[in-house]
């Protein structure tokens, strides 16, 4: 197929205002939902590996467990816990969005709106968690 005829075909099948994207996924809400779901999933997985091992120290001795869990109570790790909970809450709400998009045709058509619903629920949940957690971390 010649270049000219391809251009004609493309022009005739697409609305004039829609710009072609550089990649298959074309950005926008669906792509960012997918990207964030992957990144948060990987981060949570590696934390989970460490978290099972640190909790297993209760089987070694009270001193060993307290020494390691004490490092979770420092200001830097306190901020890390905000990031961890943020990742978990996004993965949870976006996971529900994925399920709705898979099983409910209304949600498939409105997946973009649902992405903003996920963001809104994330903000509300984090507003409930972050101040309380940071007060616990930075007081005493």
């Amino acid at each position: 197929m010649s270049e000219a005829s391809t251009r004609t075909l493309t022009a005739s099948t697409k609305p004039a205002q829609q710009r072609p994207g550089g990649t298959l996924y074309r950005g926008r809400e669906g792509m960012w939902s997918w990207v964030l779901h992957r990144i948060t999933g990987v981060a949570i997985f590696f934390f989970l590996l460490v978290h099972v091992l640190d909790t297993a120290l209760v089987r070694v001795s009270p001193e060993a467990y307290n020494a390691v869990i004490g490092t979770y109570q420092t200001p830097i790790m306190g901020l890390g816990e905000v990031a961890l909970v943020g990742a978990i809450v996004f993965h949870a709400f976006n996971g529900l969005r994925v399920i709705l998009v898979d099983f409910w045709s209304w949600a498939t058509r409105h997946q973009r709106v649902l992405f903003y619903v996920v963001i809104a629920l994330w903000v509300v949940t984090m507003l409930a968690f972050v101040p309380r957690h940071l007060i616990n971390v930075f007081s005493h």
């Binding site: 999933g41 949570i44 989970l48 091992l53 089987r59 009270p62 306190g78 968690f129 309380r132």
Partner: protein, 148 residues
């Protein structure tokens, strides 16, 4: 012209007979995900939001929780569901970002081994845990140990 397949086109067609494991994996991610939201949100609430939150977590706190079979089973169920969910999710990434071959097998083997070892370790820890180990200072132990 390059043909771009539909995003959901499987790399290999599903087997005509026997168990369709990819289908059950797909169902597992959704079913376990819903249960994990309840388990993990409950876990985060009791450990980080109640009382002094993360500052209150120590050996005595864990001992107090696991004295109750309710929290033992809560944590063991969370352990199994989360590690299988996480390892299966990582398998999806390995399938996406590596091509079939030795390295892909090594990565999947490592994921399987990590999940299997931690599930066995975690389950043993929860059910063989002694909240009042002999010879430990009483101030490090749960309050109910003093009665013994």
């Amino acid at each position: 012209m390059t043909v771009i397949e539909s995003p959901r086109t499987p790399a290999r067609p599903a087997p005509k007979r026997g168990v369709n494991w990819e289908k059950w994996g797909w169902i597992y991610m959704r079913a376990s995900g819903v249960v994990l939201i309840v388990l993990i949100f409950g876990h985060l609430f009791t450990n980080l939001m109640v009382g002094e939150g993360v500052k209150a977590i120590d050996f005595g706190f864990v001992g107090g929780k696991w004295a109750d079979p309710f929290w033992q089973w809560w944590d063991v169920l969370m352990l199994w569901l989360a590690l299988i969910h996480g390892a299966n999710g990582m398998r999806t990434l390995v399938n996406d970002y590596t091509s079939p071959g030795v390295m892909q097998k090594v990565l999947k083997g490592a994921l399987f081994a990590a999940a299997a070892v931690l599930i066995v370790l975690g389950t043993l820890v929860v059910f063989t845990f002694d909240p009042c180990p002999a010879g430990s200072p009483a101030d490090l132990l749960p309050s109910f140990c003093e009665a013994a």
